[in-house]
């Protein structure tokens, strides 16, 4: 592993100042993604700013929703009584990710900023525009069974691997950010980017910007929710495809729906048109199938991931069936 300088911040502003001024500096939270990437030489920060001692791990009830600190641990959020009561979809998605040990280390901020799992991104001997801009994308003509169906570019076809983020985008979360120019907020759906011509940028954060918390507004989705994750073993594996769904059902009629897919795009993939297709419909498999068809419009497969063209809608329908029966 490369050598680096280590500093431990006790105030957010100090952490921000260091990373804003030094493009080779990185925040480190749980370390479960960054340490992994550093061991493999994929990321080589010259300076690490340890943010674990910053007072940003609270889970607080606000008048209009929950505020979850960026340093709250994935396990703490998934086990929190308020989260389970008010945002059960988030708890389900968190518990579907990684392993109990990793969830005891991983933070909310780090989880949403974890990097892609494309094997060429990890393989220093292969071209990868995300790791080394301008070298090309090895996945385009390589093994691309894990890759995207939506929003890819010819520069990068990787998918965002976070489970938690699929729930957060469905729940209309907002990210709270502090940076060198002050504080700002970003809709969760605007945090991640499509690859376009700059796949080296995963998110819309500017240099030195620190995520401090995520806000999740109260909603009627406390009962009919489900997170369906399809993976190659029963647990402790990344999603091939996942679906986060939340329904508000009255007299078997769908009043409101929130839907998102994971494992299909460079960002957690919200499905507004499919949501619209569900509103006013009976909560039946036929409605779910039609919505899933709408959801898949514009999907484009590569050589090895065409199976996702069927897996994704089926996963969505299964999630909707489970949620509606809950």
């Amino acid at each position: 592993m490369n050598q680096f300088q280590y500093v431990r911040a006790t105030k957010p502003q100090a952490a921000i100042d260091v990373v804003a001024k030094d493009p080779t500096a990185k925040f480190i939270a749980g370390g479960t993604n960054l340490v992994d990437l550093m061991k493999r030489g994929v990321m080589t920060p010259q300076k690490l700013v340890d943010i674990n001692r910053l007072p940003l791990n609270k889970i607080e009830a606000q008048p209009t929703g929950l505020r979850i600190g960026a340093l709250a641990l994935n396990s703490a959020v998934a086990g929190d009584a308020q989260v389970r009561a008010r945002q059960p979809l988030l708890a389900l998605a968190l518990n579907a990710g990684a392993s109990p040990q990793l969830r005891n280390m991983a933070t909310v901020g780090g989880n949403m900023l974890q990097r892609v799992r494309c094997s060429y991104f990890y393989d220093l001997s292969m071209p990868c525009n995300k790791r080394q801009p301008g070298t090309g994308c090895a996945a385009l003509e390589g093994i691309n069974r894990m890759h995207a169906l939506f929003g890819a570019s010819d520069k990068c076809i990787a998918v965002h691997p976070s489970d938690m983020s699929v729930a957060l985008v469905a729940l209309d979360a907002t990210v709270l950010i502090s940076g060198p120019k002050g504080d700002r907020q970003l809709a969760f759906s605007d945090l991640h980017r499509l690859p376009g011509d700059t796949p080296e940028r995963d998110s819309n954060l500017e240099a030195g910007e620190l995520i401090t918390a995520v806000d999740i507004p109260d909603n009627p989705f406390t009962r009919h929710v489900h997170y369906q994750k399809v993976r190659e073993r029963a647990s402790y594996a990344f999603a091939l495809v996942s679906a986060a769904v939340a329904l508000d059902i009255e007299n078997n009629t769908i009043k409101a729906a929130r839907l998102a897919l994971g494992g299909v795009a460079h960002k957690p993939w919200r499905l507004p048109a499919a949501e619209q297709a569900l509103v006013g419909q009976p909560a039946t498999e036929a409605s779910f199938r039609r919505a899933a068809e709408v959801a898949m419009q514009g999907a484009k497969a590569f050589k090895h991931n065409a199976y996702k063209l069927r897996l994704a809608p089926n996963t969505l329908v299964q999630a909707l069936k489970t949620a509606s029966a809950a």
Binding site: V7, T10, I28, G30, M38, S235
Partner: protein, 210 residues
């Protein structure tokens, strides 16, 4: 100088370090050297600020024993435990968070010690497999693993046991299905899973203090 294959630093590390230092006056100039430590505190950093090659003071408790040591920033908690404290019960399987062999408890919570740096654990309390028994008396989970043949080669076992203890303490050992899900962070290449689950169920059902 150790020749342990588990070390990711080569045997000639000290030499490499000297060469690098000679070449890197630039780097030392950029680094926040200890001279700036005093101002660092005022600016919102604690005193643990180090140049790339400098060792950082670290005090923590491991299995009830206090240690005041210095570590290189890039030493993982796993390597620190094995190489510096010579607590080799904690195993390195994958070194990438994928197997659970390195599971230890930090402030009572199970974590993968291969994916964090030792310096991040200043002031914390670590428990490793060596700290589980009460003198010569095995921990109930250790006894149950022996009784149920919860292993074959034994390489994953320290991690399995640390995880199993946490699994019961967390209240995630309610059923076979729940145990399997909450033990999924520990891979066993010998496939001793059925016996591991039996051992955990035995301990959970036995009502001993875990």
């Amino acid at each position: 100088m150790t020749t342990n294959p588990d070390l990711d630093a080569p045997a000639n590390h000290d030499e490499a370090r000297r060469t690098f230092l000679k070449q890197s006056s630039l780097l030392t100039a950029l680094a926040l050297v200890p001279g700036s430590v005093v101002t660092a505190a005022a600016e919102g950093f604690d005193e643990r600020v180090a140049a790339a090659f400098e060792k950082i003071p670290l005090s923590l408790k491991v299995n009830g024993v206090k240690h005041k040591v210095s570590v290189e920033p890039r030493a993982t908690l796993l390597d620190f435990l094995r190489e510096q404290l010579h607590l080799t019960g904690t195993k390195k399987g994958c070194d990438y968070g994928q197997c659970g062999a390195c599971t230890v408890h930090v402030d009572g919570q199970r974590v993968n010690s291969c994916l964090s740096f030792a310096v991040m654990h200043d002031g914390q309390e670590i428990t490793t497999i060596e700290g589980l028994a009460d003198g010569d008396r095995l921990h109930p989970m250790q006894e149950a693993f022996v009784k149920h043949d919860g292993f074959q080669c034994g390489y994953c076992t320290p991690g399995q046991i640390m995880s199993a203890v946490a699994c019961v303490r967390e209240g995630h050992a309610g059923s076979e299905g729940e145990i399997r899900e909450y033990m999924s962070g520990n891979i066993c290449r010998c496939g001793a899973y059925a016996n591991i689950v039996a051992a955990i169920q035995d301990v959970k059902g036995g009502g001993q203090k875990v």
